[in-house]
């Protein structure tokens, strides 16, 4: 994610280096430049990202993202609503949304978003005045979101791996690459740290993608979602768990989990 400090003419080269080092997604983030003045810069940045095989996302500016055929747009809680953005962008472009609280995450589950950002993990000059939400919010977002979660906010060497261990699928950084003497090397080191970190288990729960920390039982998984096991039946990969197995059997990545209960009804069109 770009900063405001790097001079415009240096940005494409910075992006080329970051992508060469292993960045998968580039977000153009220039809070102090009007959208109308960003078009040429955005094109150059997009080309640099695409040349290295990375996705290119524009922060805030939906019309700009569409005009330059970016891969997506990132929205803050105070920006355009994702539904409106989706209507303007069509079905193909990615829409990301910043979240700072559990309610931001659960509201986002009903919106047309493709990934969530969770942060700021640490206080950061990029977001002056916004309180840090710590890794707790990364865990919350990872527990409740059915789309990928990007941890963000003052992250770099040492904390990038912690973010993954807290459930993040991806880690977003600004300063850790933009202010590095060797952006490619910084990106490479971050990528290695992220890949080495213990990832959360990814499974399908009642048809939706969900995550939970490694070693979780069904009791643990449901407790994260504030659901008790009383009265529920759990089926994993087609096999029904006995009650004593709910706290004992660990879920693993790729599991297909169904949690059912009895409801009123006797009619096939329920």
């Amino acid at each position: 994610m770009t900063d405001d400090a790097t001079p415009e003419e240096q940005l494409p080269r910075l992006i080329t280096a970051a992508v060469a080092g292993g960045a998968d997604v580039v977000q153009l983030r220039r809070k102090q430049t009007a959208a109308a003045d960003l078009t040429e810069l955005a094109r150059a940045c997009r080309d640099a990202a695409h040349a290295g095989g990375a996705l290119f996302i524009v922060d805030d500016h939906v019309e700009l993202a569409r005009a330059i055929q970016a891969d997506g747009v990132h929205l803050g809680q105070a920006d355009l609503d994702p539904e409106t953005a989706r209507a303007r962008l069509g079905p193909e472009l990615l829409i990301g949304l910043s979240t700072h609280s559990r309610s931001d995450v659960t509201r986002a589950s009903k919106k047309p978003v493709d990934y969530l950002a969770a942060g700021p993990v640490n206080a950061t000059p990029t977001k002056p005045g916004r309180p840090a939400v710590g890794f707790d919010h990364v865990r919350t977002a990872a527990s409740w979101a059915s789309v990928p979660v990007v941890a963000i906010g003052g992250l770099g060497r040492g904390s990038a791996g912690q973010a993954v261990a807290a459930g993040a699928d991806m880690v977003g950084v600004v300063r850790a690459i933009c202010t590095a003497d060797d952006p490619a090397g910084a990106a490479r080191e971050l990528r290695e740290e992220i890949q080495a970190a213990p990832r959360w288990v990814e499974l399908e729960l009642n048809g939706e993608p969900r995550r939970c920390p490694p070693g979780s039982s069904m009791v643990d998984l449901l407790a994260r979602l504030e659901v008790g096991v009383a009265g529920v039946v759990v089926e994993i990969n087609g096999g029904i768990l006995r009650p004593d197995e709910l706290a004992r059997v660990e879920v693993v990545t790729g599991d297909q989990v169904e949690v059912v209960h009895l409801v009123g009804g006797g009619k096939s069109h329920d």
């Binding site: 009642n206 009895l262 409801v263 009804g265």
Partner: protein, 266 residues
């Protein structure tokens, strides 16, 4: 009064009205209707737990342990799905009862007779007490009984239609011919429908929409209960006009069927 309980598997039901639990205006109305009906067996469905937000279940406030619960496989469109739902229901800690519902046609919700028979066979061998919901077809009812169904549940009319008994001849023939209890399910719209099938000797009825969508579901539940009792009493008393000596004769001679042996000429 002497005991006239309905025996199903291991249980004896003191009420022959089985109460549905769907489509009621509120959990409170549902609970009051069940109480007014005197039903001791209720049907429930198996569904995914909603994991986002606390959607209120219709069964809130209902003590399931006070009833014989008859889970159904509503939503299944294949025998395999029905078997899966049955096993999930059993794991919920209920008795071994299962009402098989396999929809054969999404538009009318009428059952798939072949898949119903397949699911019946499989679940009987799996130890369930199986009550298949079926088309009002005599031959099918006999096959389901032969497959080990504890009772057969022919539909009077399509689910939710409240049209009453659309084919009285078939329904009556099923009741008379079927060696296991016949519980008339689906489509009963008024207590008069319940009286009618109970008079014919149905072992019980299952009512959901007829009660749930009535002007006053609680009062209608009580009315259906009385209809079931009246019809049962009439059946036990023996209807005066019930001696249909004419019967139904085959329109083609049965004698002389190739390979039929001597029995065909009886």
């Amino acid at each position: 009064m002497t005991d006239d309980a309905l025996r199903l598997g291991e249980v004896r039901l003191q009420s022959r009205l089985i109460h549905g639990t769907g489509k009621f205006p509120s959990p409170e109305v549902l609970a009051a209707a069940i109480a007014a009906s005197g039903a001791v067996m209720i049907t429930v469905a198996v569904r995914r737990l909603h994991l986002d937000g606390d959607e209120r279940s219709e069964l809130t406030g209902l003590d399931l342990s006070a009833f014989t619960v008859l889970p159904n496989t509503a939503g299944a469109t294949t025998a395999k799905e029905a078997v899966r739902l049955a096993r999930l229901a059993r794991a919920a800690g209920l008795a071994e009862f299962i009402k098989i519902e396999v929809v054969g046609d999404a538009e009318t919700l009428l059952p798939d007779p072949i898949a119903t028979l397949e699911a019946t066979r499989e679940l009987v061998s799996d130890g369930f007490t199986v009550l298949p919901y079926a088309s009002d077809d005599v031959g099918l009812a006999l096959r389901l009984a032969e497959a080990g169904a504890a009772a057969v549940m022919p539909g009077a009319a399509p689910i939710g239609s409240t049209l009453g008994v659309l084919n009285p001849h078939n329904m009556r023939a099923i009741i008379e011919r079927c060696p296991v209890p016949v519980i008339v399910d689906a489509g009963l719209g008024s207590p008069a429908d319940a009286v009618r099938v109970m008079e014919w000797g149905a072992a019980g009825v299952l009512v959901n929409t007829g009660i749930a969508r009535a002007g006053d579901p609680v009062a209608m539940a009580a009315a259906f209960a009385r209809g079931v009792q009246v019809g049962r009493a009439a059946f036990l008393a023996g209807l005066a006009g019930d001696r249909r000596e004419a019967g139904f004769g085959a329109s083609s001679p049965l004698a002389g069927m190739p390979g039929a042996g001597a029995r065909a000429s009886v």
